[in-house]
Symmetry: C2
Subunit: 246 residues, 2 copies
Amino acid sequence: MKAAVPITIASLKVACAQCNLLELCLPFGMSENEIDRLDELVGARRKIKRQQHLYRAGDPFEAIYAIRAGSFKTDVLLEDGREQVTGFQMTGEMLGLDGISTETHTCNAIALEDSEVCVIAYDKLEELARAVDGLQHQFHKVMSREIVRDHGVMTLLGSMRAEERLAAFLLNMSQRFTARGFSAAEFHLRMTREEIGSYLGLKLETVSRAFSKFQDEGLIAVQQKHIRILDIAGLKKLIQHQPSRC
Amino acid sequence: MKAAVPITIASLKVACAQCNLLELCLPFGMSENEIDRLDELVGARRKIKRQQHLYRAGDPFEAIYAIRAGSFKTDVLLEDGREQVTGFQMTGEMLGLDGISTETHTCNAIALEDSEVCVIAYDKLEELARAVDGLQHQFHKVMSREIVRDHGVMTLLGSMRAEERLAAFLLNMSQRFTARGFSAAEFHLRMTREEIGSYLGLKLETVSRAFSKFQDEGLIAVQQKHIRILDIAGLKKLIQHQPSRC
DNA sequence: TTTTGTGGTTGACGTGGATCAACGGAGCAT
DNA sequence: ATGCTCCGTTGATCCACGTCAACCACAAAA
């Protein structure tokens, strides 16, 4: 019997105010009072095992998700079978925003490791956003941030060469790990070379070669998915592309 | 004398309900009552001459803009001088959504022809969105649509070859002209080959060659910026990329 | 009219990254 | 252990697109 440990509904739900991801997630910038009201919003957590889908392209859109633990990729499948990874998401980041426009998810969200998300029913979110100023504003910021991020990727895909792309990717990962309290210089990638390549518009062999080249040049140390950045400045210099001559 | 034509403040403002872009713009899907309330929101129109900036990267963010007439491009400048076009916008589309996240515009918006926009003060928009359910929902949809669109561009840049990209671009333009009541088969591009190239991650010569090739193959007729699509199905076939063999 | 400038086309050539192929190592089930 | 499978690395070759350069069309200025 569990009499000694009272388990209430509340304890099964997410208490945003207690969540250590607060700084990274939707509540960022909201007042304490406002955050307390968020808890009516977050219905349940959901665990997703590695390689499983949180949602699929075509699924009806009902909720957005905040990553509580773990990480995900989003991708779309072209008619001819090509896969395009559109993003990697870490704890505190939101998934599913693309579904609002058509009320249907437009991509697949797949866990890169065993993960857990907070489920945020979208109709409730809209309702609460009307009442809680800070929530509305933060939600808009989250969506806008996604737009800015996507523009960054477009720039990367549209105007950088292979090594610049990979350098930008590593610096981005490093920065995101840092924001989560992990080492900026040493981390574990949860995605394969092929997934990185798809995201960066490169083939897996090219990604692999660029990793090796960076290693030869003393910029990083690679061991499978484990990355150690030895020369952050060197990587940064790479992405401002020395124009051909002069 | 103009005595016979009373000019009121109201007539200088935009009446969303009377605007013929209603179907394409923010009000789409809102009720008549709701749309009437929008008029308190749209402060003024602003005319932008060809090649002039509506806003610049770094400008403080105060308003978003609905294009009332004309067209724009958005771009970002990399440190080394490279320009990356992140989008082309037509009538009814919104500009400036990227600014919400950092309260600073992150790209430049430049008119491709003499244009006019409706200025929507962002703080007023948030305020009104709290009162008018339909507005809140439509605004979210507009932002989400931008995210979906960007994912589409990422897919294009990440996994298509030059001719596929250009075919996708032409079909997209055609579809957007159609939505605005113009011919699907014949239209005028307002941007240069270089701007198209930047957007598609190609050099202007490659764009030009692809146009010529499409013309040789009878898919389109090109004369400078004037495009006539002769074989829509043919273009569509191009973008599903016949996998190398079989 | 000629001039000048901007944008577009086309050709010749070079190269970055894709493709094809072989192999090696890690993790997992047996 | 053994074998299997997935993932990553590396080499050899190819080709799509970038680069460089010449030229052309059109529009605005002189």
